[in-house]
Structure formats: C-alpha cells, structure tokens
C-alpha cells in the first residue's frame, strides 16, 4: 500500500464537563486515507462521522491524538483538500461561475487562468451553459454539481464528501453517484483519493474500495474492510448483498464482531478500552413508527432480512435502524444475524387497538427502559407529583453530549407521554404524574 496522505493517530474528541467528567464523542481512533482509493465512512446518525471528517480535514482539532498530512502534523493549517457538503453550502449571491472561481481567488490565481480552469470544471460536471445562473435557479442535483465543480477546481489531493447525496431525491442521487464513479474510474477527476461519509449502506458498498463502519456513543470503528468486487458493481449480485447484510449485522450487533464475507475480520479501534456504566441510549423512534413496523413484520410472517426491509421500504439505515433498535429494546423484536424477528409481545402490540397499544407500550417501557422507570419513580415519590424537566436533563447530562441530551430527553418525553406515564407542560417545563398529580397544569386556551 502506498504511503498514506492523511493519517489519524489515536484522535479523540470529548467535551469536558464542569464536574470534571468528560463526554466522549469519539473514542481514540486510528484511520488513514491512501491514494487511489475511495473510502466510505458509514455509521448511524449522531455517531460522529461528520466530526471525524472535520478532524481529518483540519477544520476541527482533535481533543487528543494527531492528524498527519503526508507524515507531518497540520498545526491548524488547512491542507489541500475539498469538501462537498450535504447542504451544498454554495454562496447564493454568487453565480455558478463565481462560486467555482471563489476557491481559486483565495489561492491567488489570476483572472484569465482562473476563468479557464473554472469553465473547464463546470464543463466536466455537465453544467455547461449555466455559468451565469444563481444557485437558487438550479435544481438540487445541479446545485450539488456546482458543489463538485467548486471542490474539484482546486485539484484537491483528497476529496471529502459529507453525505453528498442525502439531500437529493433517489433518482437524482443515483444519477450523480454513477457520474461521479465514472469520472473517478476514467481518471478525469483531479484528485488522488475520495473520502465519503454516508449513512446509506448501498451507497457505501457500490462506491467504496474500503468501508469503515462506525459505532456510536462514543464513536469507534466497528469494522474496517475492503470491498473486492470490481466496478461497476451489480447491486443484485450475491456478493454485493453479502456485504450489505454484513454491514447490517455489524450495525445491529453492538458487542460481537461479525466476520467479513470471505475474509477474517479486521479488528480496529480499541472497542473494549473503556467501559462505563451508562444509561441505554434511546433510539430516536416514535411509538407510532414502532407499531407500524410490528404490523409490517406480522404481515411478512414475523421475520425478515433487515436489508430487504430497508430496500422495500426505500428507507435509509438512519430511518430504519432506530425503529428496529427501539423494538428490540422494548422486547417487541429480537435481532438475529441481520434478521429481525417479532416476539409474541410485539405481535400483540401490533395487533391491539389504540388504548390497548398504549397499555402494552407502557408495561414494556417501564420494564425495559431505565430512564422512563426513573422518571416514573421520581414523580411518584415527589409529594406534589411534579418535577421540573431540568432535573432529568441534568441526569442525562452526565451520560450524553449536549445535543444528544436534547434528543434523548425529547424521545423519553415522547415515549412517556404516549405511554401515559406522565404529562408535560412545555411552557413551565414541568412533568406531572399522570394519575396522582395534585396540581394538573391549567388547561391552556390555545
């Protein structure tokens, strides 16, 4: 293997807390980007993929560890890389041409040369004739083409892409993906390596030479393997599906390491380095979604392959996994070898009417979800059966990063209200015990 362009050594990201603890977002991670490869970084949302990407590009400094650029530390310099953003991040007040020229101005390239290079790149990405258009006049797919042209015009050594296709509709995304691959394979792309962050498993398997699967809370590398299917890949081929299935297994089975198809597993990261007692992390799924999923599973005979389900529902892992995880957490389903299987409880839940569903959910939630149990007990024990939300946020604060606390609290609130475990007054920011509250919140008018 050639010498790495970018190498991360034990990079780590954490946020120190006032009480001296730290919330770890990314566990110490080793990672490298080598010339001639497309690397895909795959993981569920909130797993720190983007943070890792920003550390590799020099946009964000690791809390500890080093990022080396051709073997040298970066010292806050931005190396010769580009990023294609999910949101496109074009400047709306600049024309397509000005947007593409902007990075060249920054590098002090003179007008004539700059013009020539920008026009050539606009031509390459197929935007000929749109030079004087403003981004708002373009469709999403065309906007992202501008994003690519702007990224490639500086001939970056590594082209970083942060979920470049997730804001596009399925067909546009597919089209752009295949054009990108074509440019890369025909060597028309002035870059030596590509690093793509995605939560779309098929996207990763179809594009990448190497896939890195990230687990979350904190992020650490679960699996890092090469995909040895020649391009262009057939998405229905058994080998392709085997890789997809393998990634699902890795993502749904936190503890064990599954075997890479055809090879021995390459373990990386230090998965077992620090173990800490933690609250379970609630998957961000809605009770209605879980109920719908149970009905669907029942209709399909109670057991199915995850990737088939995702494919059929046209859902990303990001949308499907939380529902699957929540079902498993509540004891409505079990995960086996990348398959999901409904339990008798789950079947009952899926088939019940609304009121019965709530009762079943309540029972399952109080039995299996620690934070809801804690909320129930606390509210029960308080004399007025009411408590400020800050109390629970503070508890969550010790376990999760600030953004995650918000999401965890919101999900807990959602589940608890659905299960009629408590009521919540959003203006006062207080939770009330459903059954024995002395003071119910005043019925509000609007």
């Amino acid at each position: 293997m050639a010498e790495a362009i970018i190498e991360a050594r034990a990079v780590e990201k954490y946020y120190p807390q006032p009480d001296g603890n730290r919330i770890e977002v990314i566990a110490p991670t080793d990672l490298s980007v080598s010339p001639g490869k497309i690397v895909a970084l795959l993981g569920p949302s909130g797993s720190g993929k983007s943070t890792l990407l920003r550390m590799l590009t020099g946009l964000s400094k690791p809390s500890s560890g080093h990022v080396l650029w051709h073997g040298k530390t970066m010292d806050g310099q931005i190396p010769n890389v580009s990023i294609v953003f999910q949101s496109f991040a074009l400047f709306p007040w600049l024309t397509v041409l000005d947007n593409v020229e902007a990075p060249l101005i920054a590098r002090g390239v003179g007008a004539i040369e700059r013009h020539k290079r920008a026009l050539k790149m606009i031509d390459t990405v197929g935007l000929d004739g749109f030079e004087t258009a403003y981004p708002k006049e373009l469709s999403g797919g065309m906007k992202q083409r501008v994003g690519f042209a702007r990224a490639l015009v500086v001939e970056p050594e590594v082209l970083f892409m942060d979920e470049p296709f997730s804001a596009l509709d399925v067909l546009t995304a597919e089209n752009l993906r295949s054009e990108l691959l074509e440019l890369w394979l025909s060597k028309k792309m002035p870059t030596t390596a590509i690093f793509i962050v995605t939560h779309n498993i098929e996207e990763a398997v179809s594009l990448a030479d190497r896939v890195i699967v990230l687990g979350r809370n904190p992020a650490r590398i679960r699996s890092d393997f090469e995909i040895d299917i020649p391009q262009y890949r057939d998405r229905k081929s058994p080998r392709f599906l085997a890789y997809v299935d393998y990634i699902y297994k890795t993502l749904t089975r936190p503890q064990e390491e599954a075997a890479v198809p055809g090879k021995a597993a390459q373990l990386s990261g230090d998965g077992q380095a620090r173990t800490r007692t933690k609250f379970q992390m609630l998957p961000h799924a809605r009770p209605g979604g879980i109920a719908g999923f149970m009905e669907l599973l029942t209709d399909r005979g109670g057991r199915d392959d995850l990737y088939k389900l995702a494919d059929e529902l046209a859902m990303d892992v990001d949308d499907l996994l939380p529902i699957v995880e929540a079902s498993a957490m509540l004891g409505f389903a079990v995960l086996r070898e990348g398959d999901v299987e409904i339990t008798p409880e789950g079947r009952k839940f899926g088939e019940a009417d609304i009121q019965a569903q709530k009762a079943i959910f309540r029972e399952a939630a109080l039995k299996n979800v620690a934070i809801l149990r804690l909320m129930e007990n606390t509210l029960h024990a308080k004399r007025d059966h009411a408590i400020g939300e800050e109390f629970f946020r503070d508890i969550l604060d010790e376990h999760f990063s600030a953004d995650e606390v918000e999401r965890q609290f919101e999900t807990a609130l959602n589940w608890g209200r659905y299960a009629e475990i408590f009521d919540y007054d959003s203006e006062a920011g207080r939770l009330f015990h459903r059954e024995d509250a002395d003071v119910l919140p005043a019925a509000s008018e609007a």
């Binding site: 990023i83 991040a89 600049l94 920054a106 708002k136």
Partner: protein, 585 residues
C-alpha cells in the same frame, strides 16, 4: 469579466421597452446619471464650504419657500454623513463583537443599554463638546448634530450586523475555511453579503429615525446658547413659532417630497438589489422591483465604469490579499505589540469608564430632594402617558390593521399611503399639531399623548398588517367551517395569530414613545414654553437651563426604566410569542 457587457442588453430585449431603440435610451440614461452625479458633487462642495466658514451664532432661518431646496439639501447631507459614520461603526463593532468572545461579553450588553438611552439627552453634552472642539467654525455645531443623529441610528444597525454574523450557517463558514478564504474575501464574498438584507432594512429604519432627531436638533436652546443650523427642521420650527401656516405647509410638503424621492431612488433600488443576498433555495415569485435600479443597471456609462475601473480594482485587491495571506501563516500568534496595544486600549477604556462614573456620581450628589421628587413624579406621569399612547395606538391599529391585512385589495391602496404617513418624522409635525391643540384648547398634558401617538402608532399598525397577512388561509377557512362567531374568531384565530407581530410592534413603539416624550412634553412656540409634568419635560428643561446634574439624573432614570420594562415585560412577551403563538410552516 465578459458577462457584464452583454447581460443587461439581453434583459433589455425582453423588457416592456423592447420597442424603444436600446441605444437612445441608454444615452439618455447616461446623460441623466452624469448630470445627477455632477450636481451632487457640486452641492456637497457648496454645503461643505459653509461648514468650514466661521461660526455664526445667529443664523437667520428664512421662511421663504425658495430657500427650502437648500435647507433640504443641508438636512440631507447631515443625514448622509451620519449614516456613513453609523455604517462604518456598525461594521467594526459588529465584527469585533462577533469574533472576539472576550469583547463580546462586554460589547453586547453595552449595546443593549446604549440602545435604551434617550438620544436627545446626549444633545447638550455632544453640542458643548463639539463647539469646544471647533470654537470658531460652523463645523462644530454641524458635527454635534451629526453625532446626535449617529447615536440615534447606529445601535440597531450594529446589532443587526452582529447577529447576522453570528447566525451564518456552519456549512458556509466551513466552506469558506476549507477553500482558504482570506479575511478580505471572507468579508466581501461571504460575511457582508450574508448580513446585507438585515443591514438594508435596519438602515432604512435608522435613517427614518435620523429624520426624527434631525428635526429636533437643528434648532435648540442650551442655557444661554442658542444653536441654529439651516435645515428643514429649523425651517419648520421657525415657521411654527411665527405661526406661519403657509410656510409650515411648504415645509411639510418638501419633507414628504424628499422622503418619497429617497424611497424611490435609494431604498427601493437597494432593496431590489439586495434580493440576491437572500438565503433562499428557490426563487421567490414576488421579488421586489425598482425602476431606478433597472435604469442604472442599463446605463452604458456605469457598465463601462464597472468594467474598466471597478472590476480591475476589485481583482487587484482580491489577488493582493490572497497572495499576502498565502505568504503569511494563518493562526500565527499575534505579534506582541498587537497584544500590548490591545491591552493598553482596554485598560484606558476601563480607566475612562471609572473616571466617567466617578464624575457622574459627584454630579448626581448635587441633586436635592426637590429634583428627586421632580424625577419621580415625571417618571410616573410619562410612564402613564406611554402606556395610554400604546393602548390607544393598539385599539385603533388592531382592527384597522387586521382589516387591511385580510383584504388584499384594501392593502394595495392603504399600505403605500400608510407608509408615506409613517415616514414623516413626528418631530416635523409637532409644531402643527401643537398649534391645533392650543387652538382647540387642550393642555400639553393630554396633548403630549397625541404627540407620542403620532410617532409610534405606525410601528404597531405595520406589524399588525404583517401579522394578519401571515395568518394562513386554511386556518381562516377552518374558523368559517366551524362557524366561529365574531368573538371566538378574534379570540381563537386573529389575536393569537397576530400576537408575535403585535409584540414586536409594541416593543418598538414603546422605545420610540419614551424617546419622543423628550420633545413632546416640553415645547417652545411663539416665545412661549408649553410644558407638563413628565420625565421628558424634566430632561428638556434641564437642557434648556443647562442643569447638567438634573439632566444626567433624569436620563439615567429613563434608561433604567426602559431597560427594566424591556427585561420584565417585553422579553417575556417575546418568549411567550415564540413558544406558543408562532405559526410554524
């Protein structure tokens, strides 16, 4: 590059004027623009000459309407200079506050307080300082007036720029960083465009506020000193003291003409031009348009100027900064001299603040119990007046505003009229209203409420119209389907719907009313001083008699009241509006 030269021609071909020969039209435009540019240059030259002329304490203000264009030009120049100063201050202040976390902690609360200080109480101090600085030239008094207008318009602009910078999306910021924008490119291609729309709207508001203060400060008495500056404001005051109705009408007419003209050839074009800085993903259908902008965009003269002069300069600047930035390493530790200069400036500022506080304390110690009682009574009276003005303002503007907002046809007629009515600075109308009030025999105690109302009701009206327009049609239809009666429709749909807008309008109106009380509660007309009990009157009287201790005391009290009311009432209302009454799309 090449784009500029053909694009406007293409647009012309599509426009309604496509029948006109493009060439002639363009020559006419060029001629017009050239002449306009020349006359502005000449006017500034002439006006500036008087500035550096000797100080004349007894400027005679003529009531001859033929003098009005000159007076209007004087006033306009003052406003313009003050605005340019405000813009420069805004860019520096906003930039430092947004990017220096240490400075931000001090600068933003400071801005909040400065915003609440009634500008007119700065008047005596600023004037005395400026006259002392330039004792023999007219420029001292001019600078005083300009500084005063500056303090009236700068704060909201600075705040807007700061909050724009703070709200730049992370992705855009990262794009600028990953593509190694230097500070110049960041500023011109990214930060300034992002902040442009907020800056434009706040500039409009600020300049409107500037007229308000200009009217008040072109002619005033400070102790034994009588300051007069030739201008529209002094013309109106002179006409009012002489009771010359015809002159007053001429003055107000000129005022309206100037404001409408400014709107057409400055603000409309700027707003239409700023449309391109909107952070929108799709093109909006009813983008603002301006005939004047179209005109100047078609001018061959300007296109050539841009191609030959402006673009090459921009190119040079951009490349210069890019290459300089490339040579220097980013995030190099700042040079020690910079660190030390920064510290020195900070320490000097702290010392100055301490000194000022100490002097102020000494001055305040000179107040006697009678003064305190006067301030206290005044506060209560003015507070009541402001409240009454807000209530009366709401009572008529809510039904009218909702009617206008619900009826697009009415809105098309009423809105421009209301805009013109609102753009006339209340201070310009005070003399007229006062004359009427005296004739029908009301005292200033009640009359000042009318005056406060005059200046502040528009804020409420415009916000109510906007709120009513924002209520979604399906909600209106739902209330019809469920057969809401009149009361229920108001309680369940209209009032909650306009609430956030109403709060915004009331906040602005309340701030404006406190400020206006200084001119509304104390008025000189025909050698007679009309006055009533009030904090504004106390401030004005203290100014007139040169009682600086009383002036300082009452100003501090007014600022405190405004800040407290903002914190205790308006901020809570805002939060309530944001949490509960926001119609999310």
């Amino acid at each position: 590059m090449a784009r500029g030269s053909w694009q406007p021609v293409r647009i012309l071909g599509k426009g309604p004027w496509s029948l006109l020969p493009a060439q002639t039209w363009s020559v006419l435009t060029d001629f017009f623009l050239f002449a306009a540019g020349l006359s502005v240059f000449y006017a500034v030259l002439v006006l500036a000459r008087t500035w550096f002329g000797p100080f004349n304490p007894h400027v005679e203000i003529s009531r001859d309407p033929s003098k009005l264009p000159l007076y209007a030009a004087y006033s306009l120049l003052r406003i313009t200079v003050a605005y340019v100063l405000s813009l420069a201050f805004t860019l520096v202040y906003g930039y430092v506050a947004a990017y220096n976390p240490k400075a931000e902690r001090i600068m933003i609360p400071l801005l909040d307080i400065l915003q609440s200080i009634p500008v007119l109480s700065f008047l005596p101090a600023v004037m005395l300082a400026m006259v002392a600085l330039f004792p023999h030239h007219q420029i001292g008094v001019e600078m005083g007036a300009i500084l005063l207008i500056f303090t009236g318009q700068v704060w909201n602009m600075a705040f807007s720029f700061y909050s724009s910078l703070k709200s730049i999306p992370r992705d855009l910021r990262e794009a600028a960083k990953i593509y190694r924008f230097n500070w110049y490119q960041r500023f011109t291609q990214f930060e300034l465009p992002y902040a442009a729309i907020g800056l434009v709207w706040n500039s409009m508001m600020s300049v409107a506020g500037g007229w308000f203060f200009l009217m008040a400060c072109e002619m005033f008495v400070l102790g034994s000193l009588d300051f007069r500056l030739p201008g529209l404001g002094s013309y109106l005051q002179t006409a009012a003291s002489a009771g010359d109705t015809q002159a007053i009408l001429w003055g107000v007419g000129t005022m309206i003409a100037v404001i409408v003209l400014l709107d057409q050839i400055v603000w409309r074009p700027v707003i239409a031009w700023a449309e391109k800085f909107k952070m929108e993903q799709v093109e909006s259908t009813d983008a603002p348009k301006s005939w004047f902008l179209n005109l100047i965009q078609r001018s061959r003269l300007l296109i050539r100027l841009r191609k030959r002069v402006i673009n090459p300069i921009r190119e040079r600047l951009a490349l210069h900064y890019a290459r300089e930035f490339d040579a220097a390493h980013e995030e190099a530790p700042p040079a020690t001299w910079k660190v030390w200069t920064g510290r020195a400036i900070a320490s000097l500022a702290v010392l100055a603040v301490f000194y000022a506080v100490a002097r102020a304390a000494v001055m305040l110690a000179g107040l006697n119990t009678f003064d305190y009682k006067q301030i206290l009574d005044g506060t209560v009276a003015t507070f009541g007046r402001v409240m009454v003005a807000l209530i009366i303002g709401s009572l008529w503007t809510i039904p009218v505003g909702v009617a206008i907002g619900f009826n697009p046809r009415l809105a098309r007629i009423a809105q421009p009229l209301a805009q013109i009515a609102a753009s006339v600075p209340a201070t310009a109308l005070f003399p007229i209203v006062l004359l009427v009030l005296i004739r029908i025999g009301g005292g200033l105690g009640l009359g000042s409420i009318v005056l406060l109302l005059l200046g502040t009701q528009w804020y409420i009206l415009f916000n109510v119209i906007a709120g009513a327009m924002a209520i979604p049609t399906d909600l209106k239809e739902a209330s019809s389907v469920f057969k809401f009666n009149r009361g229920m429709r108001w309680r369940k749909l209209i009032l909650p719907g306009i609430f956030p807008y109403l709060v915004t309008g009331l906040v602005t109106a309340s701030g404006g009313a406190w400020n206006a009380s200084i001119v509304a509660e104390y008025f000189r007309l025909k050698d007679h001083t009309y006055t009533t009990v009030g904090l504004g009157a106390t401030i004005s009287r203290a100014t007139d008699s040169g009682n600086f201790a009383l002036l300082l005391g009452s100003t501090i009290v007014m600022a405190l009241v405004v800040v407290t009311v903002n914190r205790l009432v308006w901020r809570r209302m805002y939060r309530l509006a944001a949490n509960r009454y926001t119609l999310e799309v």
